[in-house]
Amino acid sequence: MSATPTAAPQKNRIGLTAADYKGSKSTLCPGCGHDAITGSIVQAAFEMGLEPHRLAKLSGIGCSSKTPAYFMSRSHAFNAVHGRMPSIATGVFLANRELTLLGVSGDGDTASIGLGQFCHLVRRNVPVAYLIENNGVYGLTKGQFSATADLGTRAKTGRTNDLMPIDLCALAVELGCGFVARSFSGDPKQLRPILKAALSHRGTAVVDILSPCVTFNNHEGSTKSYVAVKEHDEPLHEVTYVPHFENIEVDYAPGESREVTLHDGSKVMLKKLGEDYDPGDAFGALTVLHRTRDEGKFVTGILYVNPEKPAFDEEVALADAPLSSLTMDQARPPRRVLEEVMDGLRTGAGATISAGGG
């Protein structure tokens, strides 16, 4: 028997193969949009040459939140409680600001039970690539509407949703988020560069990814079925990601594209498709989000980006070395400090007396 000669698997800039970024086998339904996103994450991380030990995967509860088990098994993961991944992310980041955080959530996890924590994560600008795998339904509990279900969409049971959806991208823009994008699990060509850009952004990067639920929300009458999303996808621009470690010239004619330099020196090139779109204009982002919603369309692309917004560690003026690396001598003040405090309490000069309240 002669073996067919196979090419050695391609290695990235840190010598790892795409297989090194994989996780365990998915247990989601065959054809699930989330698995496609997982594939894009693996590919994006591989192409970026992310060091697995520097990345932490975080999630909440639901189908989407299970997916961190299906990629990058060489990275630490924290599959938290329902809707509360943002608080975990905040703690992890402040304890070790050298980690890159990848959060995976769903529309139930973010738009309902976790809406409060989501808002405060964005408000604090904690650096985390926050992916919402958005299918408009609760999958694990078998098909109830979520808060992102569109007006008039029909459930498998025949029920119609008559409540306004919460648009997480519009909300993020309103909250001052420095990176807001929307994409589609079925469009890896667009999704991958967006994921890379989100991972390069130093601040909360909200990526709302339409990801059809093949079991509970893929029928006629659903606005988030695979067919419906594909038909109503309105891309703003063509997204190209140029990593900081590669010297690639992307040539566009003047006025044909916009370029944004991200915190790590990487760039995103946004090539005009229709009307010129300025991703630095928050009002413009809200306008296009409202317009497309009214037209029953899904606008995709990088809706808003501001790489300059200071991240939370700058806001709290955190020391450069991670808090997790502090030695006892760095963390425990010396004896003279205790003596100074005790002196103040002896004389009353350093005493603090609690006020009341309730």
């Binding site: 697995p52 030990h53 520097r54 932490a56 961190p68 088990a69 098994s73 990275s75 630490h76 993961a77 924290f78 599959n79 938290a80 409680v81 509360r84 943002p86 608080s87 975990i88 905040t90 703690g91 992890v92 402040l94 304890a95 070790n96 050298e98 980690l99 409060g116 924590q117 808002c119 405060h120 604090r124 709290v316 003026a317 955190l318 020391a319 991670p322 808090l323 997790s324 690396s325 502090l326 006892m328 760095q330 963390a331 425990r332 003040p333 205790l338 405090v341 005790m342 309490l345 002896r346 009353g348 000069a349 005493a351 603090t352 007396i353 609690s354 006020a355 009341g356 309240g357 309730g358």
Partner: protein
């Protein structure tokens, strides 16, 4: 009549928000500086301004610090409460009535003076708003002269507090002068007097929450998240004050700590778990309603084995309850906080020294045991002022528990997150950022096996849960042991925890004077250590003193020692006021009478 020296209670009734705090603290400190032991208790409403508030100073040179129900000297400033305040005074007491407040006749044998506090302050302070604050310093001067506090000590106490505000200091000093002069001219010598002693030399005055904050800092805390709630806010705020001062580089402005005011208590504890999982020493502080919100995450931390330190400064519940009144009623809910089978390590500080000590030790225990550790303080201990010897600098290095570095894994050749390698049921963990290819693991609240893999296996689940039970037995061997004082030949004893300690100590002395000798066990941790069983074995009747309605500690003891349940009796106190010795002594006496009747 010979005066009562250095043993009486001074009670000041004012309106919340009237700025009486500096005044009361000045009186307290001045007595303390006279070398006489004092304790101060602030009985305040859930309100910013307008509702009644009281401050009680107990002067006691024998060192008793528990609240007493009886007051000897009253300053009645509040027209809303003056009638009841004055009516509660006994014969032999001294009552200072602010001119104009409604006042009933004082009891026979009591002395009363109507003092024109507001008229006295008028010429001194032209600004009407300011006058409302400075009037308090007039009563400081009047009371100080009445009970014999040296003026120099009052001035020193004021100077220490207002050193940075020279204008305010001058005005307040002048008000004190006026008070002294008025008292000297108009008041007769009081039957209650302060005389100089040397019993406070070198000591400090501090609140439990401040002591806890100091403990946390010297324990090496690097991450704090919290949500404002009385009576725990002052812990977080004083910790922030100390960390800003001592853990931020004055040159670069960079901090070796992060403190986050969270959006709610769910988030506060979530951040703690995230930070702790990633390797920081992390804590939060809260009170009952906050604990209720933390429940789900706390169960997660127990099951996924993540260190965390949670201070619970107890107040009266359920629900909003009495937010500014003290209680010990969170014990059972904390012990089993969360759904599913859970059990949590709890430390019970009884003094400001304990608050400092447990502020450090809670971290060591949490890191060692990889589990949440609760510190159950209360409003009385946390927010009131207590006298103590200066705290000692920690003589032991911190314990960060079983954390494997990349080099460790290289040496061992493997890593399994939830495997009991050492036989103490405590597994090893790694931190994110560890470069070893085998270091990563998946943390989850769902079913998992020794390798942290998802499983719903009916073998793996009980295996993990049983190991957690064995870890509980390990905890039993390393938590702080109780303080036991066995009275020779006593067949009855008291068992208590937390701030009840001081009323219990005084009650034992009261009962001893009546010929009833009682042993005492002061519980300092849950799980209960072997000493608790021995104590129950050696005493036929054990009076469990606690500040809640349902006898929560008694229930825990009966669960743990069903064969000794018949020995356990409850002495309960739950009106929201700090426990007093008479309540404890009464409870024990009635129990002993029943015992005699039953024989």
């Amino acid at each position: 009549m010979t005066p009562t020296v250095n043993e009486f209670n001074l009670h000041v009734a004012t309106v919340n928000g009237s700025g009486s705090q500096t005044a009361n603290n000045t009186l307290l400190r001045a007595i303390f500086q006279m070398g006489v032991p004092v304790s101060g208790k602030n009985l305040f409403p859930s309100n910013i301004a307008g509702l009644p508030t009281w401050f009680t100073i107990r002067v006691n040179e024998r060192g008793y610090v528990a609240r007493q129900k009886r007051n000897d000297v009253l300053v009645a400033m509040n027209p809303e409460t003056s009638v009841q305040d004055i009516a509660a005074m006994g014969p032999g007491s001294v009552v200072l009535i602010s001119e104009g407040v409604p006042a009933p006749k004082v009891p026979d044998g009591a002395v009363s003076y109507v003092v024109p506090f507001h008229k006295l302050v008028e010429p001194l302070v032209p600004d009407v708003k300011l006058r409302k604050l400075v009037v308090n310093m007039i009563y400081v001067g009047v009371v100080a002269d009445l009970i014999g506090i040296e003026k120099a000590e009052v001035e020193r106490a004021l100077e220490a507090q207002l050193a940075r505000k020279p204008k305010a200091l001058a005005m307040n000093l002048a008000a004190v002068d006026l008070g002294y002069d008025y008292a000297a001219q108009n008041l007769k010598p009081s039957p209650f007097r302060i005389e100089r002693r040397d019993k406070t030399t070198g000591k400090i005055l501090i609140e439990g929450n401040t002591a806890a904050a100091l403990g946390a800092m010297f324990g090496g805390v690097s991450f704090v998240s919290w949500y404002p709630i009385t009576p725990s806010s002052s812990l977080a705020e004083s910790l922030q004050g100390y960390l800003e001062k001592y853990r931020r580089d004055p040159v670069t402005g960079k901090a070796t700590f992060a403190i986050v005011q969270a959006e709610d208590e769910i988030s506060a504890v979530g951040m703690v778990l995230g930070a702790s999982w990633a390797g920081a020493r992390a804590m939060t502080t809260t009170s009952g309603p906050g604990l209720s919100l933390m429940t789900e995450f706390v169960g997660y931390a127990y099951y996924a084995e993540i260190p965390a330190v949670v201070w619970d400064i107890q107040r009266i519940g359920p629900s909003t309850g009495l937010p500014t009144r003290t209680s010990q009623a969170d014990l059972l809910s904390v012990a089993f906080l969360s759904h599913g089978d859970t059990r949590h390590v709890i430390l019970f500080p009884s003094s400001v020294d304990d608050c400092f000590d447990f502020g450090m030790r809670a971290f060591d225990l949490a890191d060692r045991l990889q589990t949440p550790v609760f510190v159950l303080s209360d409003l009385d201990l946390g927010m009131n002022v207590w006298m103590a010897d200066p705290f000692s600098y920690p003589d032991k290095p911190w314990d960060r528990g079983k954390v494997l570095t990349a080099e460790d894994i290289e040496k061992i050749g493997k890593f399994e997150r939830y495997r009991d390698v050492d036989g103490d049921a405590i597994p090893y963990r790694t931190l994110p950022g560890n470069t070893h290819p085998l270091a990563a693991y998946f943390t989850r609240g769902s079913g998992h096996d020794e390798q942290a893999r998802y499983t719903e296996s009916s073998e793996a689940y009980p295996r993990v849960m049983d190991r957690l039970n064995r870890k509980w037995e390990t905890a039993r061997t390393i938590v702080p042991k109780p303080l036991v004082e066995e009275a020779k030949g006593a067949d009855a004893g008291i068992l208590s925890f937390g701030s009840s300690r001081w009323a219990v100590a005084e009650a034992r002395d009261l009962l001893r004077d009546e010929g009833l000798e009682l042993s005492s066990l002061l519980l300092r941790a849950y799980p209960f250590t072997e000493e608790v069983r021995r104590y129950l074995d050696r005493h036929e009747r054990v009076y469990v003193v606690e500040q809640n309605r349902d006898g929560q500690l008694a229930s825990l003891l009966k669960m743990e020692y069903p064969d000794r349940a018949a020995r356990i009796r409850s002495v309960l106190h739950y009106d929201g006021l700090p426990l007093d010795a008479v309540t404890v002594a009464d409870g024990v006496r009635s129990g002993e009478r029943e015992e005699v009747a039953a024989r």
